[in-house]
Structures are given as structure tokens and as C-alpha cells.
């Protein structure tokens, strides 16, 4: 019921989808840089995989976190695969 109200409100005001709902936004630059907004937290961090609690898993080589703040994370390295979790 609550979700419906939020969705309707967003639809009525034509607001961006990630603003009110709890979704993330991903910006990908080639396969070398990825910016994820609203990532929540890092669950696993290795050089070949970064798992985020928002439901994204990024596979690649030499992955490193270029920048991190409370809402966004920039991951650099050679990205090979991005997996989505439902």
C-alpha cells in the first residue's frame, strides 16, 4: 500500500525513479569506471569482485575503490561482469 502511494506520487510529479524509492543508479564509463549511487554498503571487497548490499556484484580485474562516500562509490579497474540480484 505504502509503495503504491510513493510510486503514484513520483509518477504524478515526474520525479526521477531513484529519488523516492530505495533503488540505486549506476553510471558506467566504458568498462573502466562505474559510479553507483545509493549503494548502501560494501559486503565483499576483493581485487576480482566487489559485492554491494544494494544487490550489485561487480566482477573484474584489479578492482579498486577510487572514491567512497555515504551515498556513492566509484569503482575503477577492468570490469568484466555485472550481476544483479533480486
Amino acid at each position: 500500500m505504502k509503495k503504491d502511494v510513493k510510486a503514484k506520487f513520483q509518477e504524478a510529479l515526474e520525479l526521477p525513479a531513484e529519488l523516492l524509492t530505495n533503488s540505486y543508479r549506476m553510471t558506467l564509463i566504458d568498462n573502466t569506471n562505474v559510479l553507483i549511487e545509493n549503494y548502501k554498503a560494501i559486503i565483499e571487497y576483493e581485487a576480482y569482485v566487489i559485492r554491494l548490499s544494494c544487490g550489485l556484484t561487480i566482477f573484474g580485474d584489479n578492482l579498486n575503490v577510487l572514491e567512497i562516500s555515504a551515498d556513492e562509490i566509484i569503482i575503477g579497474g577492468k570490469i568484466k561482469n555485472i550481476e544483479f540480484e533480486n
Partner: protein
């Protein structure tokens, strides 16, 4: 990106290594608490390298306790770290600041005045006027009113047409353009005679204007009028013209030289002895024993003065005396050898006497032998241009 890097450098950051089982948690906690970290790099299992601002370094301790990890500082970068490094060397900072201040203070003053472009007015005279107007070595640049100085000089000196002032650093270049007198490049507008300026025999004469006074073959002496500017006319009074002619004369130059058969020659042995001394005003500091061991020698003294900014002379100078050893040797010439030497020397002598532009037609040696020497006389026959213009005076 460059701006960001500069900002990071300005704020000062550290590269640290975190070691523990929960490094992901550490990163999460940092981002949650608003501690900015960047360039996170996972080397091996349980070890990450990251960069953090200097001011946040203290807040990390708490997180380290929570995540049970250890921190090691790898590198400290940035201005705060550099200033920390120099905090202990206070005197160094103070002196370098004083140096900067002194250089700045000195750069506000004039340390060199150069005068260019003057041809007839002596530089000293202009420098004296500039001195009176306040353009002096040691004055502050801002305290001089160059416009006023210029107008004062224009009033004082009628022969100065234009003054340009260029200030480059601590050097002032004053450019002067002189007023040229109208009645100066005159001779062309006045009636003139052509007068001989040396003795000789006229070889060729061609007159473009004026009246010829001498003929080919005439012997002329210095001061004789060769071409007159006063031209007789059948119909009127004599008219006066500006004479113009090409005149060539033949001249002879003789020199003689005696060369004895026996001669003592001084020659350099090649041994050199150098002695230095420093002069401070009237005091002399000898850097080595000042006498030399040579019996006969040439002394070459050179003085190097310490000059600041290429202009200011200091009383400190370095005197270097170079002693070159000379050895004497007696040489006995045969008459032929003496003659060749004498001929060569006499030829060099006569060539020095012959003026530029003269054409040597031939030369001729006369050799006399006396009891212990040979005398050689040379006579060089030359063809040269002659004649100077001289104003006709009444």
C-alpha cells in the same frame, strides 16, 4: 582532476595501510561517518591501502578498535606535512623570509642607470643632470617622477630632442635623441678648394668641378691647392663652386734598419709562476710568498675587481701576478742570414707607415755592410688618393 589533486595536496593526506579481517567493514564505517577516503586498493587478503585526509587520521582510531584491525602510515603528503617538517628549523625559515624581504626591498630601488643614444653630449654630463633630477642609484623607483624629470631636462638642455625612459627590473635605461644642427653637414653647400694633405708627385688628376691648379708630373707639398673652387669666367666675375676631383699621387716611403751579426735574444723558457693576493681596500693579503725564483722574468699583473650587479664596484679585488721566466742566448748570424732578417724587419716597418688605401707599386732594397752589422734600406713606391676639401675663407 588536477585541481582535485592540488586541493588534496593543499589539505595534506596520508597513505595508510589497514590490516585486519574486516576491512570491508572499515570502509563502510568510514563512508557512514563521513570520513573521506579514496584510492582504495586491495593488495592481498585482509590488507588494503587507502588515502585519507590528515585531519581525519585521529577519527580512524575508534574504527580500528571496532573492526579489530591495525593501521600503518606509509607516506605523508601535502603542505601541512611539509610545514610540520620545518617547524623545528625556525631559524632557517626566519632567515629565508628575511632574504625574500631584502630581495623584494632591493628590487624596489634603482641599481643601474644607463644612458644610450647620445653622440655628442658626453655621458657624464647627462648622468650629472639625471643625478640632479633624482635619477640616482639607490633611489626608490616610485619616488621618481619621470615625466617631470623629462620636462626639466627639455628646458635645461636645448640640444636634447627626446628622452625615453625604460625601467627593466632595477635598471633604468635613458635613451637620448640629440637635436642635429642644420648647418653641420655643410661642406657640400659651400665653395671649397682641394688641398694636398701629403707630399708626392701627381700621377693622375680628373676634375669634376673646380679649376685645376696642378698638372700631371708636378711635385706637390702638403698644403698646396690642387683644385681651386674659384672658377674664372669670361663673361662675369669669378664664380665659386664646391670642388670635386679624383687625384692620385705617387709617394715614396723609406725606412732603414741595422741588424748586428751577433745578437742576444731573450726568449721565454715556458716556466710560469703564479702568485695571488687579495686586496681589501688598502690591506693586502698575500696568499703565497710573493717573490719568484726566476732571475730574469716578465711580470703580468691582472686585477679582478668584485663587481656587484655588473655596476657597483666593491673595494675587494684579486690581484694575480704571473711571472714568465726568460732566458738569454747569444746568436751569431752569417751575413746572408742577417740580411734576410733585416729585409723582413724593414719590410714590416715600411708597411706600417704606408696609409690604408695606398697601392704599393714596387719596393727596392739597398744593403750596406759595416764592420759588425748589416744595414738595409727599403724604398716603397706607392700610388694613393690625395686631397682634402677645405672651405674657401675670405
Amino acid at each position: 582532476m588536477f585541481l582535485l589533486k592540488t586541493y588534496e595536496f593543499y589539505k595534506g593526506y596520508s597513505e595508510i595501510q589497514i590490516e585486519g579481517y574486516f576491512v570491508e567493514r572499515f570502509v563502510n564505517l568510514c563512508s557512514l561517518r563521513g570520513i573521506k577516503i579514496w584510492d582504495i586498493d586491495k593488495k592481498t587478503e585482509g590488507i588494503i591501502n587507502l588515502k585519507i585526509y590528515e585531519k581525519d587520521l585521529g577519527r580512524v582510531d575508534e574504527l580500528l578498535k571496532i573492526t579489530k584491525s591495525q593501521m600503518r602510515i606509509i607516506k605523508k603528503v601535502g603542505i601541512p606535512n611539509i610545514t610540520n617538517l620545518y617547524k623545528k628549523r625556525k631559524l632557517f625559515i626566519i632567515i629565508s623570509l628575511i632574504c625574500c624581504a631584502v630581495i623584494y626591498f632591493l628590487s624596489l630601488h634603482i641599481w643601474d642607470v644607463e644612458v644610450v643614444g647620445n653622440e655628442k653630449i658626453p655621458t657624464e654630463e647627462i648622468e650629472k643632470i639625471l643625478d640632479e633630477e633624482g635619477v640616482q642609484v639607490g633611489r626608490r623607483k616610485e619616488s621618481i617622477d619621470f615625466e617631470k624629470m623629462k620636462s626639466n631636462i627639455y628646458v635645461k638642455r636645448q640640444d636634447v630632442l627626446w628622452i625615453g625612459v625604460k625601467i627593466k627590473g632595477v635598471k633604468v635605461t635613458v635613451e637620448i635623441l640629440e637635436r642635429k644642427n642644420a648647418d653641420e653637414d655643410v661642406l657640400e653647400n659651400f665653395p671649397t678648394n682641394i688641398v694636398a694633405d701629403r707630399d708626392g708627385v701627381i700621377q693622375k688628376i680628373s676634375v669634376r668641378s673646380g679649376q685645376k691648379c696642378v698638372e700631371v708630373g708636378d711635385v706637390v707639398c702638403k698644403g698646396d691647392v690642387l683644385v681651386s673652387g674659384l672658377v674664372d669666367s669670361e663673361h662675369s666675375d669669378p664664380i665659386m663652386v664646391n670642388s670635386n676631383a679624383d687625384i692620385k699621387i705617387k709617394t715614396w716611403y723609406t725606412t732603414k734598419k741595422a741588424v748586428p751579426y751577433q745578437k742576444t735574444i731573450l726568449s721565454k723558457s715556458g716556466l710560469v709562476d703564479k702568485k695571488c693576493k687579495i686586496k681589501l681596500g688598502n690591506y693586502t693579503i698575500n696568499l703565497a710568498n710573493n717573490s719568484t725564483k726566476f732571475e730574469k722574468y716578465d711580470t703580468i699583473n691582472s686585477v679582478k675587481k668584485l663587481v656587484l650587479f655588473g655596476k657597483i664596484e666593491t673595494p675587494i679585488s684579486l690581484d694575480v701576478s704571473t711571472y714568465e721566466e726568460l732566458i738569454t742566448s747569444d746568436v751569431l748570424y752569417t751575413p746572408e742570414q742577417a740580411e734576410t732578417i733585416a729585409k723582413k724587419e724593414v719590410y714590416d716597418l715600411v708597411m706600417k707607415n704606408i696609409p690604408d688605401g695606398a697601392e704599393v707599386l714596387n719596393y727596392d732594397y739597398n744593403v750596406f755592410s759595416e764592420n759588425d752589422e748589416v744595414i738595409v734600406r727599403i724604398t716603397a713606391e706607392c700610388l694613393e688618393n690625395i686631397g682634402v676639401e677645405e672651405k674657401i675663407s675670405f
